[in-house]
């Protein structure tokens, strides 16, 4: 009796399996990623550009970690040649078991490296901070020496002989820049259930950092004590900008806030349609803020009023703009680079790299450096947009 019934059930089971597999395969291509890919912007020092490339996107059903080494690369800015590269790996498997976890996991890096005193500092998604000799690529120290912190998304900053960074465990750490030793008064905790993805900004002896708990914190960079906190209606993951005694920061509540650097009082707030993801830039008492609603907002730094109507670039803007001379260079996610004249505030097309751009831009001596998700580093003339060289960094 059960033969036909079981044939039907077999058909159903097979159909279900096919649907699940096809569905997961489709979802794998639907932009949902299970493993971090990273990809930092570049940091320039002494004619060398340091960056961590993005890992190749993972495929498969969630157990495939991204391929690629996970590394820090030093590039000669004059000709685009590779000076050295060092692998960043962690021996701890990514989890998953059943043999699908690799013996070592490549480390995704999101935050820009920081350079000071002949060392390059870089924080990894594996929860470690590396200090690497900027000339040779040799590892100087790593923190923590044993085990790992929670993922480090924001980049480190160096000031007052210390390296500062925020961590996904909700804490702000400070380490001795030369030795990697922890500093008294740190880490500063914002709460056990909280996360910090923001890169800190330092002005004088004050450190400013945003947090998932919707607050902007101002800390004494010497002893880790809190000076003030400013609460918004959304999480803050973007890097604050400190300019003329005011801290400018975007929040997930779709507002750009101007907060007094000394007292934490709000000066003004500007509402957009989506998040401000990247750090804004300031030039000539004007704030230029790219937004995920495809627009660049040009605001008066004192009042927050719009200097010109918002400029629609046709694609979300997640990378931080840069100032090159009297031109603001802004890249949209779809890979189009615009130059915004600071005098007229009118945009002009500079270049189209044809690859998605998420990483912050950097500039030096009239050249713009852009690292795309296509794993290419492009060097463009800031005035003409002409490509000077490009280098594939995987």
């Amino acid at each position: 009796m059960g033969i036909r019934n079981n044939a039907v059930l077999a058909g159903k089971a097979c159909l279900l399996v096919i649907f699940v597999l096809v569905g997961l395969a489709v979802l794998g291509c639907a932009g949902i990623r299970s493993a971090p890919e990273g990809g930092s912007g570049g940091t320039i020092a002494d004619g060398t550009l340091f960056l961590s490339p993005a890992l190749k996107p993972a495929g498969g059903f969630g157990c495939a970690a991204p391929s690629g080494a996970g590394k820090l690369v030093a590039v000669n800015m004059s000709d685009g040649s590779r000076l050295w590269e060092v692998s960043l790996e962690t021996a701890k498997p990514a989890g998953g078991g059943f043999g699908c976890a690799p013996a070592s996991t490549p480390v995704a890096v999101y935050g820009n490296p920081a350079v000071a005193g002949g060392l390059v500092y870089v924080g990894g998604y594996n929860g470690k901070i590396y200090a690497i000799n900027s000339s040779s690529g040799a590892l100087r120290w790593v923190y923590p020496r044993e085990g790992n912190l929670q993922p480090i998304i924001g980049g480190p900053v160096v000031a007052l002989g210390k390296v500062y960074f925020g961590c996904s465990d909700g804490k702000v750490y400070a380490l001795d820049a030369a030795t990697g030793d922890t500093q008294p008064g740190f880490p500063f905790s914002t709460g056990d259930k909280n996360k910090i993805w923001s890169t800190p900004a330092i002005d004088g002896d004050t450190l400013y950092i945003g947090s998932f708990d919707k607050k902007l914190y101002a800390l004494n960079a010497n002893d880790g004590s809190k000076k003030w906190e400013f609460k918004t209606e959304g999480a803050i993951i973007s890097t604050p900008l400190v300019y003329n005694g005011t801290v400018y920061v975007g929040s997930f509540d779709r507002h750009l806030y101007a907060v007094g650097a000394s007292d934490g009082k709000v000066r003004w707030q500007f509402s957009a349609e989506k998040w401000f993801w990247g750090r804004p830039v300031a030039y000539n008492n004007t704030i230029y803020a790219g937004c995920l609603d495809h627009k660049v907002y040009v605001l008066d730094a004192e009042s927050g009023s719009e200097v010109v109507d918002a400029i629609d670039l046709g694609s979300p803007i997640s990378s931080s703009p840069v100032v090159a001379g009297n031109v603001i260079i802004i890249a949209s996610e779809e890979g189009v680079v615009y130059a915004l004249d600071a005098g007229s505030n009118q945009p002009g097309l500079l270049a189209d790299v044809g690859e998605a751009i998420y990483a912050p831009l950097c500039t030096s001596d009239g050249v713009i450096y852009i690292y795309s998700q296509g794993q290419n580093l492009h060097a463009l003339n800031a005035t003409s947009g002409a490509k000077l060289w490009s280098l594939t960094i995987k």
């Binding site: 019934n5 979802l27 949902i32 078991g97 999101y110 995920l292």
Partner: protein
């Protein structure tokens, strides 16, 4: 934005975020609530599918009969089968069609959970394009990934076992044990294949997704129970049945041989008269587990055949 994202994914994703806000910013509770709501909305389809499966099972004796009768004439067999389906009002596609319709909804729910979880910056960045411009949505993000002992962003072994276990129970409920040993092997393989596959996937996916699977499975087990009972989950025990029959007959004999001042009962001459119908193994309420009455007094009083009556005093 493509129609799929606009019509299905975006509303579901934003609902999940709002639910999270309403449910004390607890993402685990939001996943459970949305899974129940979505399954509730698809209840009619689910019931249709279960009933169609049940109707197919009920037709099996007749289908087997036809297969035997027209074993050598496939064309005739096909016609007779179609006629039987038509007369019985059963559609062979009735079991599969609702399943096919539900699949995209499950995928959308899966996508929503994975996207909203946004444990890595790439996913959080991508999430922004799916959000409605409701303040509640923006103020709720990013979501907390802690729920009970779980980090909803990482795999969990216990939850993987729970996913496999609940899926096995659900599968077992809809299956009837085949008589043919070869079919038995095939059936057993099918019974284990899906739960094991899902348990394995659960180990590698965030446990937020596993929470959705477990909730979905439990919901469907409940629905299945109300329509068909425990089904194949109740172990058929034909040997025990025979033994029980023997014991039952012995008891009847004892009662009938007892002196006239004995039990004040009338024992039915067959199990049919007492309303016992063993039926097919696995069918609902065929065996309530009570076995045969412990006390003769528990047996239902019935008029004696022939209209007679045995008085208490003899």
């Amino acid at each position: 934005m493509n129609p799929w994202d606009l019509i299905i994914l975006q509303p579901m994703l934003n609902s999940l975020i709002v639910l999270c806000n309403v449910l004390f910013n607890n993402f685990g509770l939001a996943i459970i609530a949305l899974t129940i709501i979505v399954n509730g909305l698809m209840l009619l389809l689910t019931l249709k599918q279960i009933r169609a499966s049940k109707a197919m099972q009920a037709l099996q004796p007749k289908l087997t009969e036809l297969q035997k009768k027209y074993a050598k004439d496939k064309e005739k067999l096909g016609k007779e089968q179609m006629r039987l389906y038509k007369e019985s009002g059963v559609s062979p596609a009735g079991c599969l069609l609702p399943l096919v319709v539900q699949m995209p909804i499950w995928f959308a729910l899966y996508q929503s959970i994975m996207r909203v979880m946004a444990v890595i910056p790439e996913n959080l960045l991508g999430l922004s394009q799916y959000l409605y411009s409701w303040p509640v949505v923006y103020s709720t993000l990013p979501l907390q990934n802690k729920f009970l002992w779980l980090n909803l962003a990482t795999g969990d072994t216990f939850l993987a076992i729970l996913v496999g276990g609940t899926m096995w129970v659900q599968q077992k409920m809809v299956m009837t044990p085949p008589a043919d040993p070869r079919q038995q092997t095939q059936s057993t393989m099918m019974l284990w294949m899906m739960p094991l596959m899902f348990a394995f996937l659960t180990m590698t996916f965030p446990s937020g997704l596993a929470l959705f699977w477990v909730t979905s499975n439990i919901f469907r087990i409940g629905i299945q129970y109300f329509v068909t009972g425990w089904g194949g989950l109740v172990k058929p025990a034909p040997k025990k049945q025979v033994a029980r029959d023997k014991k039952y007959k012995q008891r009847i004999a004892q009662v009938e041989q007892a002196p006239s001042g004995g039990a004040d009962i009338v024992v039915p001459s067959s199990t049919q008269e007492e309303g016992l119908d063993y039926g097919d193994s696995g069918s609902k309420r065929q065996d309530r587990g009570g076995g045969y009455p412990k006390s003769p007094r528990a047996i239902r009083r019935q008029p004696r055949r022939g209209g007679g009556h045995r008085s208490k005093g003899g």
